[in-house]
């Protein structure tokens, strides 16, 4: 059974100190990378848009986010009269805390020995492992929802209802694609450990590690679905219609000011950093990479990979326009979820008899047989599904047309499926 070797010999003072050090280190890493990320994004977006970007505070403007944070800290914290005081104050923390805790399951390196105590370079390796990501994103929905509700005005409420519907819709895809990784890991390293993030990373190592990374092992599709889902989960562009100014004048955090607003801002970028780190852990082998003169430099490779992923997010933000709300829901429910389900089945099929050994075409076929069965079944189901969507779409069009015709004042009424 897995688990951090740190606790193998009971809890002594040294173990407590190491643990405390790790907690502080993870906290500092998240905070500093948030400060960095804000600037990284603003600089990169400015560069992509052929602008200067912030260039006043500090050398080349790199202290701008620090200055912004200080300003927000000293502004007056304002609470609307109609707000629900307790929930209004609670909501930002509900958003920030889960996502910061979620970083604790990210493995940033292999093992390290401090004062004869060997430990993982990761804060925690709980038995529920990667499920912690889903737990964190499940709880973060409360932050969005309650912030909008507790503000006591209409636009934040609309924004929060819209946002929480989006978050819940894309959580299913997140779970289904994570399941493919867990399955592949379980087949490689024993099923008891498959949820541990440490085991997920370990299963992706090996000679020419690149080929063992999960995004190749699960043939790209799961990775792409996961990336789309987690981008929507973070409400990053192109799924940022939570904050569509021209429709909602700001979204769920419209009434927030001062430090309360800063928490939301912080939570948004902490989510970006944490989710990029988890993306790297799940699909790109975490800290795996070539050794230098026999020394493993896992944290370096980890940081490089995370930076590349972060840049991709900035790039997407600078490139893609925002989706419409019905497009978002169609993409989530009618495309991503069925696709993720089918792919889960196919990956599972290829794992069933993966352990048949031997060479030659016969053995190869015996290994892959269930996989091909799953592909066939997926195609049949996909055809059925498309037919169902067609029939359902036709029926709802007929229904909408009927309603249009029966509208009491005879004018065309708003169609369903638009923005709520």
């Amino acid at each position: 059974m897995g688990g951090d070797p740190l606790f193998a010999h009971g809890l002594s003072l040294a173990v407590w100190l190491i643990l405390l050090g790790k907690v502080v280190a993870v906290f500092v890493i998240v905070l500093v990378s948030v400060l960095f990320m804000v600037m990284y994004e603003r600089k990169a977006v400015a560069w992509l848009g052929v602008r200067y970007g912030p260039n006043r505070a500090g050398p080349n403007g790199w202290l701008q986010s620090l200055a912004d944070g200080t300003k927000l800290l000293f502004k007056e914290a304002f609470t609307p009269r109609t707000a629900d005081k307790w929930v209004y104050k609670l909501a930002p923390y509900l958003m920030l805390v889960p996502i910061m805790i979620a970083f604790s399951i990210v493995p940033m390196g292999g093992e390290i020995t401090i004062a004869h105590h060997t430990t993982y370079v990761q804060l925690a390796d709980p038995p529920w492992g990667i499920l912690f990501l889903l737990m964190a994103s499940g709880i973060a929905v409360y932050g969005v929802m309650l912030a909008g509700w507790a503000s006591g005005s209409k636009y934040p409420l609309l924004g929060s209802v819209r946002a929480s519907a989006q978050l819940i819709s894309y959580e299913a895809v997140l779970g289904l694609t994570t399941a493919t990784v867990v399955m592949v890991t379980g087949n490689a390293s024993g099923f008891g450990d498959a949820l541990h993030t440490h085991a997920i990373v370990a299963a992706q190592s090996g000679h020419l590690a690149f080929l063992h990374w999960n995004f190749i092992h699960t043939a790209f599709v799961s990775f792409i679905l996961f990336t789309i889902a987690i981008t929507a989960e973070m409400t990053r562009p192109p799924f940022d219609l939570v904050e569509a100014e021209e429709e909602l004048s700001g979204g769920y955090n419209l009434e927030y000011s001062s430090i309360d607003f800063a928490w939301f801002y912080l939570a948004e970028y902490a989510a970006l950093v944490t989710n990029s780190a988890i993306l790297v852990t799940l699909w790109f082998g975490g800290p795996n990479g070539p050794t230098v003169f026999g020394h493993s430099i896992g944290p370096f490779w980890f940081a490089v990979k995370v930076l590349v992923v972060l840049y991709l997010y900035v790039w997407v933000r600078a490139t893609l326009p925002r989706l419409r709300y019905d497009q978002l829901m169609d993409l989530g429910w009618k495309r991503l979820i069925p696709f993720a389900l089918a792919w889960l089945m196919i990956v599972a099929g290829f794992q069933v008899t993966n352990n048949v050994s031997g060479s030659g075409f016969g053995h190869w076929l015996a290994q892959k047989a269930w996989g091909f069965v799953a592909i066939g079944a997926a195609i049949v189901l996909a055809v059925l599904f498309l037919r169902a969507v067609e029939v359902g779409g036709g029926a709802s069009e007929v229904e909408t047309a009927q309603q249009d015709r029966l509208a009491p004042d005879g004018r065309e009424v708003a169609r369903r499926g638009g923005t709520p």
Binding site: P127, W128, V141, Y142, G410
Partner: protein, 208 residues
């Protein structure tokens, strides 16, 4: 250590449960329900049921209570309840009595060993090698495969049924009485011709 975690979890569950009943604002009640969920999460961890603990948070706190909140917000019932006005006069003493009976029943049943209906049930620590998650998965997909799949099918049926029923609120022409149809058609026709004369005559009554 175990009993300390147990006490904290139990305190959370009880606080949350009391909050659900006693608070006036439905949204606050829902939040206290989430608090209860976290108490149950702690107790599951304390029992070594890691997967159940995680699922408790993902499904119950992350989805079910969110849906409660959706309904509360959409229906606009997020205001204080008027508890003082009671329709049934003996409601309160009756509720207390029934609650006490239920409590006594639970306490009595917990002293008896085999009280789960039919299926062989046992409680206690996990035995043998392997993690909790792996064992749970294996028993779900071997010994309990049929109940598992039937539960899944039941949920899908429930969802489909909900969709079918929710889309039926508009009575189609066939379901209305001829008199009502005629009345509706005439009212539409007059509205149409009032708003746009060129549209008049589009909704003519079919010859009978």
């Amino acid at each position: 250590m175990d009993w300390a975690v147990y006490l904290v979890g139990a305190a959370m569950i009880l606080t949350g449960a009391l909050g659900v009943i006693l608070l006036r604002n439905p949204v606050h009640c829902a939040l206290m329900l989430v608090f209860t969920m976290f108490g149950i999460f702690l107790e599951f961890i304390n029992q070594g049921a890691d997967f159940l603990a995680a699922v408790q948070i993902i499904v119950y706190a992350g989805a079910v209570v969110i849906l409660f909140l959706f309904v509360i917000m959409f229906l606009g019932v997020d205001r204080k309840e008027a508890i003082g006005a009671e329709r049934l006069r003996f409601q309160r003493p009756l509720a207390i009595l029934l609650g006490l009976v239920a409590l006594v029943e639970i306490l009595a049943l917990s002293r008896v060993d085999h009280w789960v209906s039919g299926a062989p049930a046992q409680s206690g620590a996990l035995k043998g090698a392997g993690s909790n998650v792996a064992k749970l998965g294996q028993s779900l997909y071997t010994g309990y495969l049929l109940p598992f799949e039937m539960t899944a099918a039941l949920l899908v049926i429930a969802v489909v049924a909900a969709v079918v029923m929710s889309r039926r609120h508009q009575p189609s022409a066939g379901e209305m009485s001829p008199a009502a149809q005629k009345e509706l058609r005439e009212s539409h026709q007059s509205a149409l011709s009032a708003s746009d004369p060129s549209l008049a005559g589009r909704l003519e009554a079919p010859s009978e």
